[in-house]
Amino acid sequence: MKLLEYEAKDYFRKYGIPTPEGCMITDPVQARMFIEKLGKPIVIKAQLPVGGRGKAGGIQFADTPNEAKNMAAHMLGKQIKGLTIEKLYVEEKLDIVNEIYLGVTIDRRNKSHVILASSEGGVEIEVVAEETPEKIIRHLVDPVNGLRSFHANLIAKRLGFKGRKMRQFADFVMKLYSLADEMDAELTEINPLAELEDGFIAADARLLVDNNALFRHKELEDKLLSSLQGELTEREMEARAQDLTYVELDGDIGIIGNGAGLTMATLDTVMLYGGKAANFLDLGGGATPERIEKAVKFVLRDTRTKAVFVNVLGGITRGDHTAQGIVAARQELGSVKPIVVRMAGTKEKEGRRILKKAGIETLDSMEEGAKLAVKLAEGS
């Protein structure tokens, strides 16, 4: 899950990472109060779970209390990428000598955390990786031995820092890694990490926590759903609330499969035959009739859907359960949209019998099923 900047900075402070003085506000008056107390120019940042807010006007500056209040009032309620700004983060404006990038993420190939640092801060790291890869320092963290001060010193050194600055930056690296490790971060990054005259400070803060690890971070569980707003479409949010593994696509054939690989292959096959999937919906293993009914209903209700292809290879998932779920969904919705079912494996015969009775076509192979679904979607 993606934390907002102000939430991420709360964790940064907990781990002793220097951050500018700031606070989250929801009312323009608070912006005035903050700048009055601070007595220095401030930056006002929209708190939204999407990237690229800077270009979209989500980062503004103010030098006086009135400016701060007016600007905050101007920003609150505005929309960026379809999301309404409800929270702002006001923060002291920094005298930045230099902008650095520092991040910790997972290296799939090496099966470890990797620390990325670059003297090219303030730019997206992907852009740096593309254009000047030699400017990115990569340090793989040994999972058994962890990160030690000498690793951090070397990272700081490679970035060009010496003496006191080297040790200050190394300290920053150590703390950010501790946070990444203990908070189960899939990604945490500071971009830009500001170099000041006498040290470093996290001008921005990004923190993505592994959803699978939320049992270790109970305080975040409640925030999960709201954190997904920027990431998921409305329909995906709905599916999530119904506990369905669903990805929205832009075609017109609803796809339901059991197992991620099979469902992906179903999409691919539909595409191969000239169709376009409206979604990816993975039932997972051993779905009950109720779960299947819920899934089919969810896809049928999608007005874009012209036909539905259900592809179930039975192992733990039973054919009869699948059939029952499909029939129930269709009956309850009174839907006449064509449904194609490919069914094989456990309780296949029983399933086919149930579907036949309900007038739903079943096929032996995914290929045939995909072909038929494409044809039906075109014909409708």
């Binding site: 997972i106 690890a213 499969g257 197992g259 099979l262 096959t269 290879l313 733990i316 995914m366």
Partner: protein, 289 residues
């Protein structure tokens, strides 16, 4: 070299008293797997599916010879369970559990490596030696003893292709699910090495999907000439959109990396026959054999 299984492999089921554990223990037993003990902390002394249950592996080993472990323990406890198996020198350790934090998988894989233990998974359907033994949740009926080894990152798609292979009369030797998580123990290359030396495997089906670069690395390995048997592949996810997780935690195209296209191109360049449809993998293998 990873360690796999055969009819003599003696298996402990960790998490045997859970519903998944119990259900699949029954199916594995039916298939012929030598399940000798179960472990669930706090449930020592009971029986499940006719198998004695212990609180710890150490205790199970006091009265039973055990070679390998399969784990159905819930995600928050799975790391400890797997490390218990590693410490008890069981090998392979097959982690069926889905939803394990990636930090735990990193720890597990690194510590197992120190011990030289093969970790299959997490989030894997497991492995099967057709006609002899299975440590996994795959449906038995689609497999038949034969010559084709299968390596797959996914579950049902793996069964789908196995069914095609079986239908064409080729049959399977050893089949291994690698697991759908971003960080897993066993990788394509490890299994390819093993298949190269396995006299019972005459050809290989490789089933990949979007995310990561394991398929690209497998292609590189195959290009290197160390793998000499016929091989056909299928890659799922051509229709996937970048930045979205397609069911599996590991199935995600990030930036320019992890696309199906990149994997397909790499494999084709390595001389691997890549099917556009799952069924074509079986057909290609029939021709290659």
């Amino acid at each position: 070299m990873p360690r796999f299984i055969d009819r003599d492999t003696r298996v402990v089921v960790q998490g045997i008293t859970g519903s998944q554990g119990e259900f699949h223990t029954r199916l594995m037993k039916e298939y012929g797997t030598k399940i000798v003990a179960g472990v669930t902390p706090g449930r020592g002394g009971m029986e499940e599916v006719g198998i004695p249950v212990f609180d710890t592996i150490v205790e199970a080993k006091e009265s039973h010879e055990i070679d390998a472990s399969i784990i159905f323990v819930p995600a928050p406890y799975a790391l400890d369970a797997a490390l218990e198996a590693v410490e008890a020198e069981l090998d392979p350790v097959v982690v069926i559990t889905e939803g394990i934090p990636v930090r735990d998988s990193i720890q597990l894989v690194a510590r197992a490596k120190l011990n030289g233990t093969t970790i299959v998974g997490p989030n894997t359907p497991g492995l099967i030696k057709a006609g002899e033994s299975k440590m996994g949740i795959m449906p038995a009926q689609v497999f038949k003893k034969g010559d084709v080894g299968i390596i797959s990152r996914s579950g049902t798609l793996f069964y789908e292709i196995a069914a095609h292979i079986t239908r064409l009369g080729l049959g399977e030797s050893t089949c291994v699910g690698l697991g759908g998580d971003p960080v897993v123990g066993l990788e394509f290359i490890d299994v390819l090495r093993w298949f190269e030396d396995d006299p019972e495997t005459k050809a290989v089906a490789l089933i990949g999907e979007i995310g990561g670069d394991a398929e690209e690395r497998a292609a590189e390995f195959i290009s290197g000439g160390e793998f000499t048997k016929p091989i056909a592949a299928y890659i799922a996810g051509r229709a996937a959109v970048p930045g979205k997780r397609m069911g599996h935690a590991g199935a995600i195209i990030q930036g320019s990396s992890g696309s199906a296209e990149s994997k397909i191109n790499a494999l084709k360049k390595a001389g691997v026959s890549v099917g556009d449809l799952p069924g074509q993998v079986a057909e290609a293998l029939r021709e290659l054999l």
